[in-house]
Amino acid sequence: MYPIVIHTVHGILILMKLKDIIACVDGHLICGESHLEDEITRGFASDLMSDVLTILEDDILLITGLSNNQAIRTAEMSDIKNILLVRNKKPSQNMIDMAQELNISLSYTSYSLFKASALLFNEGLKPVY
């Protein structure tokens, strides 16, 4: 029910809006309301920021249990605009301020990294690799 399916010459492209991603994992938006209509095709799940920095694709959803400033900094360097925190990790005010300053959305879910990723994968969000 959530994804937008687009048929292209290269096959089917599935876009999920951030608001639908958050709904899919029973999550909550913390900051970055202007991103709710962002259309996202790929997700990457990791708690290791150096792994995230190897990703060349832009505008992916970063799914992570790392709730600290380093996650925001890594997203900034990697041109990632949307972060989903898992395992009910709530960001500090400092982290929220930083995300707002850099125009990055922060959401959270109580689900584990595995469950959140699996639910989004089932809905059509593609892996980076």
Partner: protein
């Protein structure tokens, strides 16, 4: 154009501040986004390395029309085995560094992947001097 940033040792609260400022400068120069990303990823990894593993140092950037050269110079204690440090997954990170999401052993390999030219001068007990070269041509 010449730009320098000081990087303190062990203070992770400022990890990424130098790279963030440099990225802002690169954006102002209207460079292709893919080139900006390669440069900032490499500089950020190097900055985190200086904070995590050294006694502090500096990032020196030289910008010209076709290339950008970034030197990262720390004050020690050097890398005892550079071949191992260049291996993906090899890490000497402490628990504290791992808790912050770093220390995956991908720092130097990521740097190597991101730049067009890389030179690393280091020795145990001495300082480490990394020189990264980036071509600014549009990428496909």
């Amino acid at each position: 154009m010449h730009q320098e940033y000081t990087v303190p040792a062990q203070d992770f609260s400022v990890a990424g501040v130098a790279s963030s400022n440099f990225k802002r400068l690169l954006k102002q120069l209207n460079l292709p986004p893919k080139v900006i990303k390669r440069i900032t990823v490499a500089v950020f990894e190097a900055e985190v390395n200086v904070i995590a593993h050294s006694y502090g140092g500096k990032i020196v950037c030289e910008l010209s029309e076709n290339t950008i050269t970034v030197e990262v110079i720390d004050t020690g204690p050097g890398i005892p085995n550079l071949d191992l440090a260049m291996k993906e997954g090899w890490s000497t990170a402490t628990e504290e560094i791992l808790e912050l999401g770093y220390g995956a052993g991908m720092g130097l390999p990521n740097i190597k992947k991101s730049c067009d030219r890389l030179s690393i001068k280091t020795q145990a007990g001495g300082h480490t001097h990394i020189t990264m070269g980036f071509d600014l041509k549009e990428e496909s």
